[in-house]
Assembly symmetry: C2
Homo-oligomer: 429 residues x 2
């Protein structure tokens, strides 16, 4: 039977989903495997960096006071009393007109307060004793990298929930994280539905299409930082489907089905939700594409029924599934990042509902410019490959002209936003 | 002995490195593992999408000519002669005032040229025969997704060398790529050098620092799309080091050493290059940080001697190693993407050489704005974690003021640029 569906605003739909936000468990992974994961704990400096005063150059460590009278006419000479490479410590105290040959990174010897770069010294020997001379004075503190000048002990460097990028890796190594506390990846199950679906390895048949959504979503799941569990396709038998969903739910944190949720006689999803006693949070959203996105919850676990249309499915994932994954990793900005951009082309379609146009963001002389990335139908697959943003066009307009300012949601951004939905659906303000 | 080094411009250094550009071998990976890899072959549509005229909605397929007279006063009735779900084909030809119940995605039956959405129909039975009626006419073509409207057979959809993102995954699935031709990941070896280095698991000791560069570079290698092979630390024995490098070179496409390349007595690298008969392409660059970056080549393989200073090492990797990796994957834009941004804070340091300031890019009302991400010394580690760009400040200036327009190189961008170096080092123009 045909079900009557009441569309709700996007922001309301996101709210209802985020009511089921959960926190992923924590685990430790070796540092070599931490790149790209999400920190489960803030990184706090447990020592100063540098941990000791050190030399930024190869040269000679001296007492600056001894250099006071140096000039080209009257070079001052120093007795070279030793040398230290990086990693070693000069054990003696350096005295009057003495110098220590010092390498980049080595600690400043006791008594010294300046380093003279190698290029500015002249070295020689007398009676089997090494000397060096300089032709100008150096002030106290010259060429010294002071303890703590980069990072002071106790500083919180990175908050929990942040992505581990190459720079964060350097911090983790610096502060001794051989094992890194990260959030365990959320496990997202994917089931494809639809009797029209062929797998990529199958030949085309009349009336059938290849299953593109499952593979697309797998990559979206990975991009969001979670782990995929693909359960294949639903059978045509309702009892088997119910069993399938029950079993899948045991193994995942979130279950996504794609396809078969259009308003039609053949749709099993409502029956499945009922059979497993899942509460439907909504089954229609005032947006294009993706209006027939359904989300249900059972024992705190979310079931996303995304559209079978590729563009609708893609949008549904990014708006509703991505933030619930990111927030599981302690991220305070789990939603797509919202920015403003100049529309680079006319968009003339009238727009009863809020529309998310798959688009390409570019820069022109430092300004964000955006153009639709291709064919704009819910069923389109071509426009997804080059999309790195959604243009958000509020409902109730007759179209948008090139040069207008529009809101965009960025797809390849690591920063995200806390809540991009204020004042974005103008028709619902 | 101290070696005299002649600095060369950055663009010249990049040119010398790119002379050794190579192409990675190709391999096939299962579609489920293709996300994030680089396409080794363009994707060309081998069929139209949709492959047949199909219905975008649930409803009834009709011959539009039969609906001509329909109005609210005079509904037109159609005999329902069958139904088709997605994936099935209606085998008969639909005749005069006949209709077929059709589901989203199902092919339009022969004879029909319009679809009426379910909501606009009234259904009833008479003498065990199903009927539906409509109250307005539908034009030929109404609610039909035409064959090829999304993608036409023969179109090149994605060029080789592009990253496989979720949208590309959808295309690969659509066109039957159960196995995907991708470039084999380049294997990049990493050797840390420096007697001052402790591993992350070791306790701090006087004069020593933890090895942060190797782990940072591992993540940079992964971010660039290549595979890491970590060979640990060099020993202090020159003969052993030479042997170490010789063996490592057998197993990698590119070898990176980090540390130990400052101008100093303890530096083994020049001796190693000589011993293995590697040609030094350059050993000093007119830039900060990273001026002592050395690159050598042996039998067509590049050896990068990056600085031991974290910021210098990081910059050296992104400017010189990243493009050689990306170009190995057939990418026509292997270099960091260059854009313009507004400087969000003063930068007062005088600048004899081109400077790459680790920075954070942000948007303000659709404009790119950038500020340095922290402590700006070659040895800094703190400023890398939040950096997503380099501000490029040409040499020969006394400083830059907030509000000025500057060039930036983007670090987390997937698009890259073909050659960002034209007119960027103003002192060398």
């Amino acid at each position: 039977m045909v079900e009557k569906r009441q569309p709700i605003p996007v922001a309301e739909a996101v709210h209802r989903v985020m009511d089921y936000a959960f926190q992923a468990k924590k685990e430790h992974v070796p540092l070599t495997q931490a790149h790209g994961r999400f920190l489960a704990q803030a990184i706090r400096a447990d020592h100063d960096v540098p941990a000791f005063d050190r030399s930024p150059y190869d040269g000679y460590a001296i007492r600056s006071v001894d250099s006071k009278e140096a000039s080209s006419q009257h070079p001052v000479r120093f007795q070279v009393v030793g040398e230290i490479g990086a990693g070693y410590v000069f054990e003696d105290v350096v005295g009057d007109h003495q110098a220590v040959r010092i390498m980049t990174g080595a600690p400043i010897p006791q008594g010294c307060d300046a380093v003279v770069m190698l290029e500015l010294t002249h070295t020689f020997e007398e009676n089997h004793q090494k000397y060096m001379s300089i032709k100008r004075p150096f002030e106290a503190g010259s060429n010294i990298s002071y303890r703590g000048e980069d990072i002071q002990k106790g500083t919180v460097l990175i908050e929990q929930g942040q992505t581990i990028n190459p720079g964060v890796m350097a911090l983790l190594a610096t502060f001794g994280y051989e094992q890194v506390p990260v959030y365990r990846k959320a496990v997202i199950g994917v089931i494809a539905t639809g009797s029209e679906l062929l797998e990529p390895g199958e030949s085309l048949q009349p009336g059938k299409i290849r299953n593109s959504n499952a593979y697309m979503i797998m990559a979206q799941i990975e991009r969001a930082g979670a782990e995929v569990k693909y359960f294949g396709k639903f059978s045509d038998d309702l009892a088997l489907c119910i069993d399938h969903v029950e079993k899948a739910l045991q193994e995942v944190d979130i279950l996504i089905t794609t396809g078969g949720v259009s308003v039609g006689d053949y749709d099993y999803l409502p029956a499945i939700y009922e059979a497993i006693d899942a509460k439907v949070l909504f089954n229609k959203i005032a947006m294009r594409p993706g209006s027939v996105t359904t989300v249900a919850a059972r024992n705190g676990k979310l079931l996303f029924g995304l559209s079978g249309n590729p563009s609708a499915c893609y949008v549904g994932f990014e708006l509703f599934v991505r933030p619930i994954i990111r927030s599981a990793y302690g991220h305070s900005q789990p939603h797509l990042r919202r920015e403003q951009a100049i529309l680079g082309a006319d968009f003339t379609k009238p727009n009863p509902f809020t529309r998310f146009v798959r688009a390409r963001i570019d820069y022109e002389k430092g300004k964000l410019v955006t153009v639709p990335s291709g064919f704009d139908k819910s069923s389109a697959v071509s426009s997804l490959a080059t999309a790195n943003a959604f243009i958000v066009l509020p409902g109730g307009s007759r179209g948008y002209e090139k040069g207008m300012q529009v809101d965009v949601l960025l797809l390849e951004d690591l920063q995200g936003s806390e809540w991009p939905w204020d004042n974005i659906e103008k028709s619902y303000r």
